[in-house]
Symmetry: C2
Subunit: 154 residues, 2 copies
């Protein structure tokens, strides 16, 4: 076995172990879990927006930002296993094939999104509404960055 | 206006403001959001279990426990507005009417669940697999406590 093949075999084995320990589930489970996690974030984005547009409640914004931060840092990439580019969870997945082929592009949108989510939680805890508004806009841009590139229109 | 009525009017106004700031959405949104949040927790409970039963990965357990903690502390009670005892989000809600009539009973199951979720995140961060296993069992019991009382069987 050539060294290159040994390395690949080792990587595949490592990935399989990681996937096993993650309880990645069947393709339809993966799709349903990621749809649920995204909608949970969307609900909480809506809550922050309602606090910016309406009556500001510090605790609510903290609660919402913490949920978004935790999901953003949850390693959801594991739910995009090969074979989940098509299929139905709660509904048909809207993911584009590029999500599975363009790993570098995924990294380019994932990193700023995770950083923005961490900063959103920090700003929410600090409680300055102006800063919350600014950071909410930045976070929304990172969501859009991924949607534009890797999600089909409805 | 009698004092009692003034107090009730003030409480209703406060609740409406809180509900508005929360972006509580239409009944079907509330049901879909809570189904998504519960399934996101279920996915992460499964991940912790897979780490206990299979190969333990400290980071994965932390990620999963943080998601559960954030959702447990997110004030999801707001998604159980009157009129959401029946209806369809992703699917027909399984909530029992008692969830809306027995507020004291809800508090009795909600408090230990939130405490157990906070402790789960603390124990995950500490990284002692034995303690993780024990706390996972305790947290699961608090989930079951609510399901048994307030969720219909499928």
């Amino acid at each position: 076995m050539k060294l290159k093949n040994v390395v690949i075999a080792a990587l595949v084995a490592a990935l399989s172990t990681a996937a096993l320990a993650q309880s990645i589930g069947k393709p339809e489970d993966q799709i349903r879990w990621r749809q649920s996690a995204y909608l949970t974030m969307a609900w909480n984005m809506g809550r922050i927006k309602a606090n910016i547009d309406g009556t500001y409640n510090k605790d609510q914004v903290i609660q919402a930002a913490n949920v978004i931060q935790a999901i953003a840092n949850s390693g959801m990439g594991i739910l995009f296993q090969p074979g989940t580019d098509k299929g139905k969870g709660w509904k048909e997945t809207r993911v584009k094939g590029e999500m599975f082929s363009d790993r570098e592009g995924v990294g380019k949108v994932a990193k700023p999104y995770m950083e923005a989510a961490n900063e959103m939680a920090r700003v929410a805890a600090a409680g300055d509404l102006g800063a919350i508004k600014t950071q909410f806009g930045k976070l929304g841009e990172t969501c859009k960055g991924c949607h534009d590139k890797f999600r089909k229109d409805e």
